[in-house]
Amino acid sequence: MHISEGVLSAPVLVTGAAITAAGCGIGLKKLDYDRVPQVAILTSAFFVASLIHIPIGPSSVHLVLNGLMGLLLGWPAFPAILIALFLQALLFQFGGITTLGVNTFNMAFPAIICFYLFAYGVKGKNNLISMGAAFACGFFGILVGSLMVAISLVFTGDPFIGIAKVVVIAHLPVMIIEGLITLFSAGFLRKLKPELLEVVHAKR
């Protein structure tokens, strides 16, 4: 899911960087500073998640955890993902510094979508709905992320449907696995610390 340096054209890079800057601004504004340690832990989870490869399917894919990030963090997922991707680019040469903006947007935007779509369902009283919403959250995080990558790559000249097919199919196993991870994490937190799932990250 990391787009390398030198693949995208300047307008795409600048647009991505601008949107990411705006997203991080909102994220930092909405960040409840009592939650900073929680954000840090999730950032490190995201940071190491991409080292876990999933040996299924035709391409080389790895965990992303952006659905889980969105579910637990909301808007602060933006700066969290930015930091994690920056360190991945710096230490592992995943992606690149110039593509940081686009890559962050591609991963964080689905996280925010998941937050708005599923956070309410996950924290709800009904167990079955909660489990379903958590699975969908992990699943959609990757699905939307794949589509975002495909959209970014359209501007390199390849047709959208072609790339989208490749990216989405390659990530199908990841979608299912992340769905399960999010399901179990959310179930675990619901039992042990339900207030983490409450939408309390916005400043009151």
């Binding site: 990391h2 190491v48 080292l51 876990i52 391409s59 360190l87 040469q93 790559l153």
Partner: protein, 218 residues
């Protein structure tokens, strides 16, 4: 409430510990296999051919990926596709710095530069047009045939040339695995230190934020 503080402490540790353990497990899982998510392109010269290998850094080969070769001024010399084993080989059309660019699926890209000096001499010569490995020897034989009856001094020079070719070929052969290992080492972006360092950075940033918050709150 006096009861509040120990309760709070307990609650915190209950949720923090699973997360911390998860992170630690992941670190060890990741560190045990050196995994990385990027493509690596590696090229080397052997005889008069340039061989390229490409793989995702988890070891999976990049199949059917596009390889383009540019000269020093950015003109495209040739392009092709990697085979099942992620390999592609070509005959450099001229002696120049070669910039080999690999474009794999989903926006992955890497490049490798072979300086002109690494390419065999006489790029424009006969040796260059001959396909087979060990072409130098053939050319030498041809030349020798042409120059039958030449003075002894010239023959010695040709013999030297032959020896040099053979030595170079043998060296190429022997050094290839070592070169490969070196490049692989160089390209392995991931290390335990990197993972720990990254996590350290994140918690360092957290510390700085909390520090400034606590000063503000006072």
């Amino acid at each position: 409430m006096p009861k509040d503080s120990p309760l709070r402490k307990k609650r915190l540790s209950r949720t923090t510990w699973p997360s911390v353990i998860f992170v630690i497990l992941v670190i060890f899982a990741a560190a045990s296999d050196t995994l990385a998510h990027r493509v690596v392109l590696f090229a080397y010269v052997e005889g008069n051919m340039v061989f390229t290998e490409s793989y995702f850094s988890d070891g999976k080969k990049c199949q059917n990926s596009r390889i383009e070769v540019f000269d020093s001024s950015g003109n495209k010399l040739l392009e092709g596709q990697t085979d099942k084993n992620g390999e592609f080989s070509f005959k450099p059309p001229k002696k120049t710095d070669l910039r080999i660019v690999l474009t794999a699926s989903m926006g992955h890209k890497d490049e490798y530069i072979i300086p002109a000096g690494d390419l065999p001499d006489g790029a424009e010569g006969k040796a260059w047009q001959s396909d087979a490995h060990g072409a130098g020897e053939k050319v030498f034989r041809a030349r020798k045939g042409e120059e039958k009856g030449a003075p002894a001094g010239q023959l010695t020079r040709l013999e030297m040339e032959q020896i040099r070719t053979v030595v170079e070929e043998t060296l190429d052969e022997k050094l290839k695995p070592i070169m490969r290992l070196l490049v692989k080492r160089q390209n392995e972006g991931i290390s335990f230190i990197g993972v720990m360092g990254g996590i350290g950075f994140i918690f360092g940033i957290m510390g700085i934020i909390l520090y400034f918050r606590s000063r503000k709150g006072r």
